[in-house]
């Protein structure tokens, strides 16, 4: 397989920007990106929940707290390392006389990564196309196949850069989440691996670098490394080739994954022990049965539209996608994404972003393919054909952008000032309650079965977390184990640790305000006699609720119950 020389790489790089695909990128993809970028940057308080949570936990880590030991969160250790970057960058910018809020820095990083993903797709596919065009000209053998591959790459060169941008619209309130970052890496990775199986390789160090980036992205959560591996297996089996597996791209992926895994051992031993005894088993437990609280109507977000998109793109592939092998890894990506969503067994939008990205990529490919065929058939003049193609591409993208911008506006408003369909008389919104009953930079403890009601609330209001349970999800699993008489060994140890910490927090009135969500969390507090401690040290306040119709940006799982509130006694 030929590996491109650096000189050739540079020449073709320059030639890329003189093509119609470049025009499409500049005229369609870029404006769409700028629009959503502007929307993202100009709004405040809409960081995605786990991004906000990780920024808060980073502050804890910076103040010498040890993850899992001093606070319980379910993130992989690499997250704590990566989330140092926004804080460092924020400091650096301040130092350079360009102070920005941390939220803005994070948003900028996300947008830059999105742009890089899009540009990377454009460049990789463009360079590959140029190489293959040059090769087709030089060698007569397999000319027809080379030409059809070149056409396919032309198609891909428009669709692939578009996909990350389309994802930012559909997953607007999940930007920066783990699966979003994976999706940004996955889209160019599909292109890279596809090209490898079609006989084109990136220069060695570029391949190694992009492989490492992908490996890092998929190491952000366990067991998502299976995604690129599954993709590789499908490509290898469908193209009936094994040699492309052994390349620099994959080596970079594997090395990055190894480095991430080994980085665990630089953390304190207590954290390592907690990781292997608690965090990984909790993660494995999550893949088991669906939590009983996610059974009734409205207890998980409604994501039918993603599945309908998946069905649509699969149908298009079956009916018309066989002619172009590039659809194979794209469809594989959507299947893998759906599989991971089912595995997560929660139902949040952030769990389906990988599938969303592949589905949008597939739809973009089909759209471009359709436009190309339509223009070839009905527009005979070459110059006019390109303009018509561009117009036909721009129209649906504009419509898509407009639709989502309107929807984002409505969703954002609902996030700030919720007015759900199901009314809860006597229950104010949790955001207003926390704001009214706590003080800036003071600790607030929100005990809930999922983190979405707590973050980005605490981050936006700049309250510090007042409890060991940064993420209360483990309580549900421990309660279930107790019901099955399996709360022993390391599970009992974890439960005891949580109880010990909660007892200490309530006894010492660590938090200004304690909110306990109904019903399971309240049951847990009651059963473990923590309610008495709360009564001793806190006064009960009026209930509040995480007002929501269970859609972005206010998603939840479980029953729509309110929070019991406890205010620290003034005498303390």
């Amino acid at each position: 397989m030929p590996v491109m020389s650096v000189q050739t790489f540079k020449e073709r790089f320059r030639a890329l920007f003189l093509t119609s695909e470049a025009v499409a990128f500049l005229v369609v993809t870029l404006p769409a990106f700028l629009l959503i970028g502007r929307d993202y940057l100009t709004r405040r308080g809409d960081l995605s929940p786990l991004v906000a949570m990780h920024l808060v936990t980073n502050q804890l880590v910076t103040s010498e707290q040890v993850p899992y030991v001093d606070f319980l969160d379910l993130a992989q250790p690499i997250i704590y390392e990566l989330y140092r970057l926004p804080a460092l960058l924020n400091e650096g910018l301040g130092f350079c006389g360009m102070p920005m809020r941390l939220e803005e820095v994070v948003k900028l990083i996300v947008l830059v990564l999105t742009a890089l993903s899009s540009v990377a797709c454009f460049l990789i596919l463009g360079l590959a196309r140029k190489s293959l065009q040059a090769r087709a000209g030089a060698e007569q053998s397999d000319k027809e196949e080379e030409e059809s591959l070149t056409d396919a790459l032309g198609l891909a060169q428009v669709a692939f850069p578009l996909a990350p941008v389309l994802l930012t619209y559909m997953g607007r309130f999940q930007l920066g989440e783990v699966q979003f970052l994976m999706a940004l890496a996955f889209i160019p990775w599909i292109a890279i691996r596809y090209l490898a199986y079609r006989g084109w390789q990136l220069p060695t160090f570029v391949g190694l670098f992009l492989g490492s980036v992908t490996g890092l992205a998929f190491s952000l959560e366990f067991p998502y490394l299976l995604a690129p591996l599954a993709l590789e297996a499908v490509l290898s089996a469908s193209m009936k080739k094994l040699k492309p597996v052994f390349c620099m791209d994959n080596l970079g992926l594997v090395l990055a994954a190894l480095v991430v895994a080994l980085r665990l051992y630089k953390w304190p031993e207590a954290m390592q022990a907690a990781y292997w005894n608690w965090i990984m088993p909790l993660r494995m437990l999550q893949f088991g049965e669906l939590d009983e609280m996610i059974h009734g109507l409205g207890t998980s977000p409604d994501l039918f539209y993603v599945f309908y998109g998946f069905i649509a793109v699969f149908i298009l592939f079956v009916l018309g996608g066989k002619r172009n092998a590039i659809y194979v890894p794209v469809i594989a990506g959507s299947v893998i994404g759906i599989a991971f969503f089912l595995l997560e067994k929660q139902g949040f939008t952030r769990d389906i972003l990988l599938a969303m990205a592949s589905i949008l990529l597939g739809l973009a490919l089909f759209l471009c393919d359709f436009i190309q065929r339509f223009c070839r058939r009905f527009v005979t003049v070459e110059g006019l054909r390109k303009r018509v193609s561009l117009l036909l591409l721009a129209l649906p993208i504009c419509a898509y952008s407009a639709f989502y911008l309107v929807r984002i506006e409505a969703d954002y408003s609902e996030g700030i000032n919720p007015n759900p369909k199901v009314k809860s008389p006597g229950h104010g919104d949790i955001n207003l309650y926390v704001q009214a009953h706590s003080q800036w930079r003071h600790p607030v403890a929100i005990l809930c079965d999922y983190p979405d009601s707590t973050y980005p609330l605490l981050f936006n209001l700049e309250r510090t977390p007042g409890t060991y349970l940064i993420n209360g999800r483990p309580i549900r699993q421990l309660m279930r184990l107790e019901k099955l008489n399996l709360l022993s060994g390391h599970w009992k140890e974890l439960n005891d640790t949580i109880l010990r910490n909660l007892e200490a927090e309530f006894s010492s009135s660590r938090a200004d305000l304690v909110l306990v969500s109904g019903c399971y969390m309240q049951d847990y507090v009651r059963q473990n006699k923590l309610l008495d401690l709360l009564r001793e040290n806190y006064d009960q306040g009026s209930p509040c609720i995480f007002l929501s119709d269970n859609r972005q940006p206010r998603e939840f799982i479980g029953f729509y119950y309110g929070y019991d509130t406890w205010l620290r006694r003034k005498s303390k």
Binding site: V234, S238, L290, L297, F314, V318, L319, A332, Q346
Partner: protein, 635 residues
């Protein structure tokens, strides 16, 4: 002999399919009362139809009438063979399934060799076996509309595949395949989507769509006999609506469809449980996703892959758009996901088979023997499980003699409501169950042969109306009027039919009935005898009696006076202020109890019955010896 040897693989395969598809005959014969709620209502509707009752007018149901018409068949089968009604349904469906499996195999056997494009039996055999196996795993959803649809659709799908591959099946066979498919497709409109998707999958086989163009431009016309036959039943069915009495049609449209469209989401689950609520939901999705990945690899290897995966996508769409986490709605998706995997296994087996067949002449015989062994093993497994289940439940059985049938059923699978109905009423009595769902009123009522006490076989419309009010508060007045109408009709039916028992579910039905003073208005002649399965049980006693006031001792005293001849039942009833029929019932129960307990015995009742069985078995053994002697002596 040579012909037999040539046909041996076919015979062995057919035998294997027969064994596998019919394995659960034993199970259903050992569970004569086993039936699920929905199916029991359909069967009951079939009974009522045969009695001349008009759907929607004389008995209410949400469903379009086709399922009612079709359930006349199992009722007739049950009557013809003196079977309990549930068994009639199960045996009918089993027979249809066996026929469907063997017919599909026959179509492949007859026409596979006549296709323009190779149709390899070895590739399709795992798919057929999986189809045969799948029905054996169904218990609660056995006989559901989705199940019936798949039974009719499978041979049709096979025939269409053969047609697309270039075969020209006989028009009679085509009609025989198309008509039932069209009929069962008419059960639900979304079933047509499954067929359409499969057609698209066949048409768009080739990369350039040549097949589609070729097929559609055939000079003979692309409307083959099976497609014409497919269209006939839906047309007839559509026309049949015009023959329903106007009043009945009015009830169907104004009441049934209204309640269904606005209150359908009662009992609905959220999105995640629909996908992974429990393994019954999750596994079909995992199987489909695995099959989908393998499809990407093998997509060019078989003409059947695209249609099967298109069917899976249609089934997934139907399931998700239904918005309900019910296993029967997932049934077609579950089946075809498995068929997809089985087909992919078949493709891989084809490679192996082709490798061997050139080296060994007897490969086909060996393969068919292996197939028979595997099918037989699986069939044996089902049968052994069925036997073990009954053997392990030794003693815990319900004798069907009480229902006028021979045999028994495991007591554990009968609801407490069933036992209550049997205990407190007689065969042929009418019973009314007003509950939020169909179960446990049905299947209990059908199982114990108690007639419906009202046109409303279940109280589901009330809970759906309550949900409808929540969904559309602007239409509250309309739903309230419907609710009042249904409750008034329930009361009217109680007064007219005088059911022996009325069950009123405590929550939420009792709360919904409270504003209408239902108990005091319509159950004045009923006394509360207790609660079972979350419902209050009211027995017709002539007038309302607080039965709790009368202890067993007090009843004994009253009954003894009658049995000893000191007083008549009427005198006792008058003296104590009780309904006569109540006193008479107590006397009858006391007499029956006395008879069974006055017999001399060394063991308890169960022990005595076991002794009896041993005696009878010994007698049978003796008789069999005599028969053998006579046979041997005869030679």
């Amino acid at each position: 002999m040579i012909v037999l040897r040539k046909q041996l693989p076919t015979v062995l395969v057919a035998l294997g399919l027969l064994l596998l598809s019919g394995a659960n005959f034993l199970y259903w014969s050992m569970h004569p009362l086993a039936i699920s709620a929905d199916q029991s209502v359909y069967v009951q509707s079939g009974v009522l139809l045969l009695q001349g009752k008009v759907p929607y007018l004389d008995f209410f149901d949400f469903n379009p009438p086709l399922i009612i018409y079709l359930n006349v068949i199992p009722v007739l089968v049950a009557r013809a063979f003196a079977l309990p009604l549930p068994m009639g349904l199960n045996m009918t469906v089993m027979t249809l399934h066996v026929f469907s499996t063997l017919f599909s195999a026959f179509l492949l056997y007859k026409y596979a060799g006549r296709c323009r494009q190779a149709v390899r039996l070895v590739e399709l055999l795992p798919m057929l076996a999986m189809y045969a196996w799948f029905s054996q795993t169904l218990v609660p959803d056995f006989g559901q509309r989705e199940h019936l649809f798949t039974i009719a659709f499978m041979p049709f799908f096979v025939l269409r595949g053969l047609r697309h591959a270039g075969a020209e099946p006989d028009w009679r066979i085509s009609c025989l395949t198309g008509a039932p498919a069209g009929l069962l497709m008419s059960l639900k409109p979304q079933f047509f989507l499954i067929w359409i998707f499969s057609e698209l999958g066949f048409l768009f086989q080739s990369v350039s769509g040549d097949r589609a163009r070729r097929y559609l431009s055939r000079s003979k016309g692309w409307l083959s006999p099976e497609l014409l036959a497919l269209a006939v039943p839906p047309l007839i069915y559509a026309v049949s609506f015009a023959f329903l009495p106007r009043q009945a049609l009015k009830v169907f449209i104004d009441v049934a469809l209204t309640i269904y469209s606005f209150g359908n989401n009662w009992g609905a689950r959220s999105f995640m449980p629909m996908l992974v609520g429990e393994y019954l939901f999750a596994w079909p999705f995992y199987q489909f996703l695995t099959g989908a990945l393998i499809f990407l690899i093998l997509r060019r290897e078989s003409i059947w892959l695209s249609p099967v995966i298109m069917i899976c996508l249609a089934c997934m769409f139907n399931y998700l758009s239904g918005g309900q986490a019910w296993t029967y709605r997932l049934l077609p998706f579950s089946l075809f996901s498995k068929l997809l995997l089985a087909l992919e296994v078949g493709i891989l087996l084809r490679y192996v088979y082709d490798r061997f067949k050139d080296r060994f002449r007897q490969t086909s015989v060996l393969a068919s023997v292996l197939f028979l062994l595997c099918s037989g093993f699986l069939a044996y497994g089902f049968m052994a499980d069925a036997v073990a289940e009954v053997v392990n439940a030794e003693g815990e059985i319900f004798d069907l003699k009480e229902l006028g049938y021979s045999g028994s059923n495991m007591r554990g699978e009968l609801d407490a409501t069933f036992l209550c109905m049997v205990e407190n009423s007689k065969l042929g009595d009418k019973v009314l169950y007003i509950g939020s769902g169909i179960r446990p009123g049905y299947p209990a009522q059908l199982q114990c042969g108690r007639k419906p006490g009202s046109r409303y076989l279940y109280g589901y419309p009330l809970t759906m109306l309550d949900q409808a009010r929540e969904n559309r508060p602007d239409l509250t007045a309309r739903f309230k009027a419907l609710e009042a109408r249904i409750i008034a009709e329930l009361g009217e039916d109680i007064n007219k039919n005088k059911p022996k028992l009325v069950f009123v579910q405590l929550c939420p039905i009792a709360l919904l009935l409270e504003p209408y003073h239902f108990i005091s208005r319509y159950l004045q002649n009923y006394s509360l005898i207790g609660e079972v399965d979350g419902a209050a049980v009211y027995k017709r006693t002539g007038s309302k009696v607080d039965l709790k006031k009368y202890s067993v001792g007090q009843r004994e005293e009253m009954v003894l006076q009658v049995i000893c001849g000191q007083k008549t039942a009427i005198e006792v009833a008058y003296e104590k202020g009780l309904p006569v029929q109540l006193v008479e019932e107590w006397v009858e129960r006391a007499r029956s109890g006395m008879r069974s307990n006055l017999d001399d015995r060394t063991l308890d009742e169960r022990g005595i019955m076991k002794l009896k069985i041993d005696e009878l078995n010994s007698e049978i053994w003796q008789l069999n010896r005599q028969i053998d002697k006579l046979k041997n002596g005869g030679r």
